[in-house]
Amino acid sequence: MILRINLSNGKIKEEPIDAETKRKFVGGRGLGVKIIADEVDPKVDPLSEKNKIVFAVGPLTSTAAPTSGRYAIVSKSPQTGTIVDSNSGGFFAPMIKGQDYDAIIIEGKSSSPVYIWTNDGKVEIRDASKIWGKDVEESTKALVKETDEKVKVACIGPAGERLVRFACVINDEHRAAGRGGIGAIMGSKNLKAVVALGGKKLQVADETKFKEVVKRCLMTIDKNQITKDSLRIMGTPALVSIINELGIFPTRNFQEGYSKEADGICGEKYLERIFVKQYACYGCPIGCGRMTRAGGEEGGGPEYESLWALGPECGVNELEDIARANYLCNRLGLDTISAGSTIGCAMELSEKGYLDEEIKFGDSEKVLELIRKIGMRDGIGQDLAEGSKRLAEKYGHPELAMQAKGLEFPGYDPRGVQGHALGYATSNRGGCHLRAYMIGPEALGVPAPIDRFKADGKAKIVKLLQDVSAAVDSLILCRFASFAITVEEYANLLTTATGIIYTPEEFRTVGERVWNMERLYNIRAGFGKKDDTLPQRFTETTLKEGNSRGRVVELDKMLGEYYVARGWNSEGVPKPELLKKLEIEKYSL
């Protein structure tokens, strides 16, 4: 069931989802992409009333399937102009699913600040003027007090209210649907939060067989070294040492791929200095979440990407300083990757004399000041709030923005991981590591190791992982489970949960369909081959230190292979026969 809420006229209605849509798009990202493609003009201004936001859960949400507590938010991004989806864990998703909703479509724009209160199928649009202006922590507490102590809140902070282009949505106070500026879209609609309470017990189609598949999935998660040991014991900060050793740990706005001081912020040091306790999202046997303490504050994270972005990317190597910067981003409702990388870009602009304001690499107090200014759009924060692409363009040096399609890259220098580089360049939402997590095979050896420096043959593997990832995002399960769960078991989970038979091949096709829908949307929005690119720093300038030194990305070589593997023409446009095979020919250009 879909819940549709129009903030312009206050109308609220429930709509069924047809069986064909469920079969073809499943839920989560897939369902959200289908809705946005059908209802939002690709040319629309993302911060206008005409844009829509889809909160979507999936057929596995809040079932016994491991890591099933996630939801996706899909919209058109104000940061990139592409279609965007961002997902988050915690305990918010089961509250939506527990009211029998597969998706909530939010459209229009309220004339004053509001929040949406969905209480076991009773839906209200409520006044939020008293909490407008409050940070995420204060807003969450106020909304819990105003509604019910059992509710879960997904809200924006001051950054979203001020339309910062990389403002995020935060649920459970520190789980973020971080990327692509969805917080700004909520802000543009005067929507402070979605508050949910729902506890309906859900049935799967074949309980007995479903339990058997879940048991097998849990067995593989409990056997896999990454899901069983690394993530459980050290959390994502376990990656710091591994990535640095490979020479792909971006430092000082990607000027280097190796940090001599990384041992001071590695997983072990994290445990010794700031760790308070581990926690897990709904239905998660891994438990990568970390509560920490620094500078007299306690909060969630930083996870690996935040640790990197607010740390070495800005030349900062003090764990406590990084943690404080992370807490501040969470309170303001900022995507930590884009925040850190945009500050890193400003630091390099300043270092090279292109920016009047002195912003030095390694100045942790300045990082905190800039985060605050970004979140409040204050002073130089006005420029930084636009993201690194617009910032670097404004100051005449677009080459210093480390982004693709306007989205800042996360913490892996692509020069030492060729397949991952191709993943960055071809990602439908811009510089993202999660579309095809090639770090898995290229750096961590899962599901099997492949030569990270080779460009030949990578295109097919990137395509496979992009398709599978899009399908997993439609279930919707956490990507960390993908280190262990196979495509066959994903298909089995989906089949036994829905009663619709999916072979592993059909499961992959779901992902391929979603991927091509996103591509078509982006083409209509004006994107194309010219945008499947990387900053020239990665294709022309070699790394000087670490175990990826002497490398550049061989993008041209891989991109042609990729288009062929995808069944696209030489301009990167999906061919009609492919769209027919994927049953989406009506979206043909």
Binding site: M219, K463, R549
Partner: protein
């Protein structure tokens, strides 16, 4: 190096299903601290994936035999493990006891020190005693190839065959190198087609496992068996065969000063110097 490249080609052509791959694997747990929960899991995984056997320390044989009762999964017990330096009597006694407790295969460690002394009769008698104590059950002999030269590997294989064992096996997983392609290939070439070759030590993904099979192994020893089989199901979804730089698979590049004797380290490293493929061996390739 030609052998490595040849095996890489053969690996690409190998036709084997994930189920068949599982059936070549001795699902192994030889940790000093893993407890009942872990061994219960080991047996559950063996049943779920239909591995050929579980391979465990003697202490766990009876437990695994009970857990796997009624299945066709074999139980392999290690003997004289991991150093091979027990006396022959103790190895035989250990063998007798594990067989009584339910082991159907024995993986013994050769007396490497006696072998290095060229005391080949003693090495052979040591193996013969275990073969006798095993009462017709399969005996695999671990050579620990990381301590041996190519010439010594050939000699050791000949002794094992003469002593009446059933398999030669590369490594314990506790020594240097683990299973390498040239070693497995050489072992198969030496023992011929009608003898067992088990590759073990450092086989952590499906590509390692397939390479070992292409090189001549008919049994794989691995702790990462679940990952190997699950990874292989992924590989079936697209072309995962990206050519590997051959040096990465060569014992000469893998030889470690910290883990092996100085003379063996030098033996392997000096082979690199004259290798026609040394251009591949850049330190960060």
């Amino acid at each position: 190096m030609e052998i490595i490249m040849e095996i890489e080609r053969k690996t690409k052509e190998l036709e084997i299903s994930p189920e068949e791959l599982a059936k070549t694997i001795d699902h192994t747990l030889l940790s000093p601290y893993k407890n009942t929960t872990e061994f219960k899991k080991l047996c559950d995984e063996a049943k779920a994936y239909n591995f050929y056997s579980v391979c465990v320390n003697p202490y766990w044989v009876r437990f695994c035999a009970d857990e796997l009762q009624g299945t066709n999964i074999e139980i392999a017990a290690v003997v004289g493990f991991p150093l091979g330096q027990n006396t022959t009597n103790i190895k035989a006694l250990e063998t007798k006891e594990v067989i009584e407790n339910g082991a159907t295969e024995v993986d013994m460690v050769m007396n490497i020190a006696a072998f290095k002394d060229k005391n080949y009769d003693s090495v052979k008698q040591d193996i013969e005693a275990v073969v006798k104590a095993a009462s017709g059950k399969v005996v695999k002999v671990i050579l620990e190839t990381g301590y041996l030269t190519y010439e010594e590997i050939v000699k050791a294989c000949e002794i094992v065959k003469e002593a009446g064992a059933n398999f030669v096996k590369t490594s314990t997983g506790f020594g240097p190198l683990g299973a390498t392609i040239p070693h497995v290939y050489l072992m198969r070439k030496t023992v011929g087609d009608n003898f067992g070759v088990k590759a073990s030590g450092g086989i952590s993904n499906f590509r390692d496992a397939l390479r070992a099979i292409a090189a001549g192994a008919n049994r794989i020893g691995a702790s990462d068996s679940v990952k190997i089989v699950d990874g292989y199901t992924w590989a079936k979804l697209t072309d995962w065969n990206i050519e590997e730089i051959p040096c990465r698979l060569c014992p000469s590049r893998k030889a470690s000063f910290a883990k092996m004797s100085k003379s063996i380290f030098q033996y392997y490293k000096t082979k690199c110097v004259d290798c026609p493929y040394k251009e591949f061996n850049k330190f960060y390739e």
